[in-house]
């Protein structure tokens, strides 16, 4: 379980987060909705300790991430897979090397086992025969799939998705949404999806947290947020649906 309690953060004097709180239950997919530039991606990076909040607590499996030492943070990161907005594939390595990197460093697998793990991870995201391809030769959707294969290579408990469908055409975005749902079914992972795309959010999410002006406007199921009496929530949903 992940719990964020009253998170505050400012960058260069600009207050981005002003007391964000929500929790993520085991094996659910929580979607964090909000406008671009509202600090949603920052929240994801805070959960694995890449960015430290100015105040507040982030509790993962009972331990506060903000108080962890560096070795504890590294150990925590084994529990997480992270799909970055632009996939963040290492462009000097092939697809296979991207996925193999953490397997070689953090496991005692033999070369054959690593090859099997790479093929397995790629098959889950619906790719084959791309292990020797350089990331620069891949389309946006394929990059995201490879990024996801890399994220799940160490069989994480939690998967964090940063704008998984941004920059993709509708068909490819739908494919990624289905993949997020498949991963939850196949691997039983708990997921947090950060997006401003409400259509994708409704496809993948069990519950939703809406951020606005650095605060949590509301958390709840699709029905709860759609039937909310909160004026700000209604305004956000209406503008997001367009």
């Amino acid at each position: 379980m992940i719990r964020l309690e009253n998170i505050w953060k400012q960058f260069s004097g600009k207050q981005v987060l002003r007391g964000v709180s929500f929790d993520v239950r085991d094996k659910e997919t929580l979607v964090v909705l909000g406008k671009s530039g509202g600090g949603k991606s920052v929240l994801l990076k805070m959960i694995i300790g890449l960015i430290k909040p100015d105040s507040g607590a982030i509790v993962v499996d009972g331990k506060d991430v903000t108080k962890m030492s560096y070795p504890e943070l590294r150990a925590l990161r084994f529990k997480f897979g992270f799909l970055f907005q632009g996939a963040a594939l290492f462009d000097s390595m092939t697809v296979g090397e991207n996925i193999a990197l953490s397997l070689r460093r953090h496991t005692g697998y033999s070369n054959e086992e690593i090859t099997e793990r790479i093929e397995y991870a790629l098959s889950i995201v619906g790719l084959e025969n791309v292990t020797r391809v350089m990331p620069s030769s891949l389309s946006g959707g394929m990059k995201k799939r490879v990024g996801l294969a890399r994220a799940i290579a160490l069989t994480p408990r939690y998967v964090l998705y940063d704008e998984p469908t941004t920059g993709l055409d509708m068909e490819t975005a739908d494919g990624i949404n289905l993949l997020i749902n498949d991963l939850r079914t196949l691997l039983g992972v708990t997921s947090i999806v950060v997006t401003h795309d409400i259509h994708s959010a409704f496809v993948v999410g069990d519950r939703f947290a809406i951020l606005d002006q650095g605060v949590t406007l509301m958390t709840g199921t699709r029905e709860e947020i759609q039937n909310s009496d909160n004026e700000e929530v209604r305004k956000y949903i209406n503008s997001a649906i367009g």
Binding site: A75, R77, F82, G86, L89, F90, D91, L101, R105, H106
Partner: protein
């Protein structure tokens, strides 16, 4: 109210504006120095984590060392030739011609090859490292490494700095030899000095310590250039514009660091 307070405190017409500017510049300078120190300290502290960085060392040695050989040959040849021709011109008819050989070998080993090669490599190697790491930073590849439980300093910075410390002395010893050959060519074909006179002059003045001094300088330059370049690239902010700015900063800072270090080492070791 808050906005007007900010604008008054930062007003450039205030008689104290200079102090504000100095304060900001000082903050930035010491902040950068502290950040650089942290990176170097972290790198040394995790030096035992060889499993993380050993894989990349060979590749970096090729990129920093082998790929720089053509430019080192070019620069060193001309350094040797120019030193020989100018020495011959300045000493014309005053003293024996073999002195040109002595001057060339002394100048090349002690100063010219290490300094000029380091300045050229500050541009080539330093800019490459900063652009590479800076691009990794803005495309979130460094965040991705951390998310995969890697120590990015051990993985990215340590192999580059180690490769610089190993390859710079090799390049500069190589450059010394090439510069001596360049000096011989310049003496024979431009200054009309016999090869025997030039070589005898070199032999008379050659001291092993001069070469050792050049190697010590090269090691220090290798460390300074690669570590500053890595620090700049690792801390890039603001997209492609930030990468460009950091790359320019690297070239300027590494050149300054090289000339200052050159003076310090000469003062201490000679």
């Amino acid at each position: 109210m808050a906005e007007s307070t900010v604008s008054i405190s930062e007003s450039s017409t205030s008689p104290f504006a200079l102090f504000t500017l100095l304060g900001k510049a000082g903050n930035r300078f010491f902040g950068t120095l502290g950040g650089y120190g942290n990176v170097v300290w972290w790198m040394l502290r995790n030096a035992r984590d060889a499993r993380t960085y050993s894989r990349n060392i060979f590749q970096q040695m090729v990129q920093i060392g082998v790929d720089s050989i053509p430019i080192v040959i070019f620069v060193s040849t001309f350094v040797g030739m120019v030193t020989a021709v100018q020495s011959a011109y300045q000493l014309y008819d005053w003293i024996p011609r073999n002195v040109v050989g002595s001057l060339v070998i002394k100048s090349v080993l002690l100063e010219l090859t290490p300094l000029l090669t380091a300045l050229v490599l500050a541009g080539k190697v330093g800019a490459t490292i900063t652009a590479e790491l800076g691009t990794m930073r803005v495309t979130e590849q460094i965040d991705a490494l951390e998310a995969l439980a890697f120590d990015p300093i051990s993985f990215l910075i340590t192999p580059r700095v180690l490769a610089g410390v190993v390859m710079f002395p090799v390049l500069i010893v190589f450059g010394d030899v090439v510069a001596a050959i360049g000096g011989l060519l310049g003496s024979v074909f431009v200054a009309n000095i016999s090869p025997e006179a030039f070589i005898n002059g070199m032999k008379d003045s050659f001291e092993v310590y001069d070469a050792v001094f050049g190697i010590i300088k090269a090691t220090m330059f290798g460390f300074m250039i690669t570590s500053i370049a890595c620090y700049q690239g690792f801390h890039v902010e603001g997209g492609s514009e930030g990468v460009g700015k950091a790359t320019m900063n690297t070239v300027v800072l590494t050149c300054l660091a090289v000339v200052v270090m050159d003076f310090v080492l000469a003062s201490v070791l000679l």
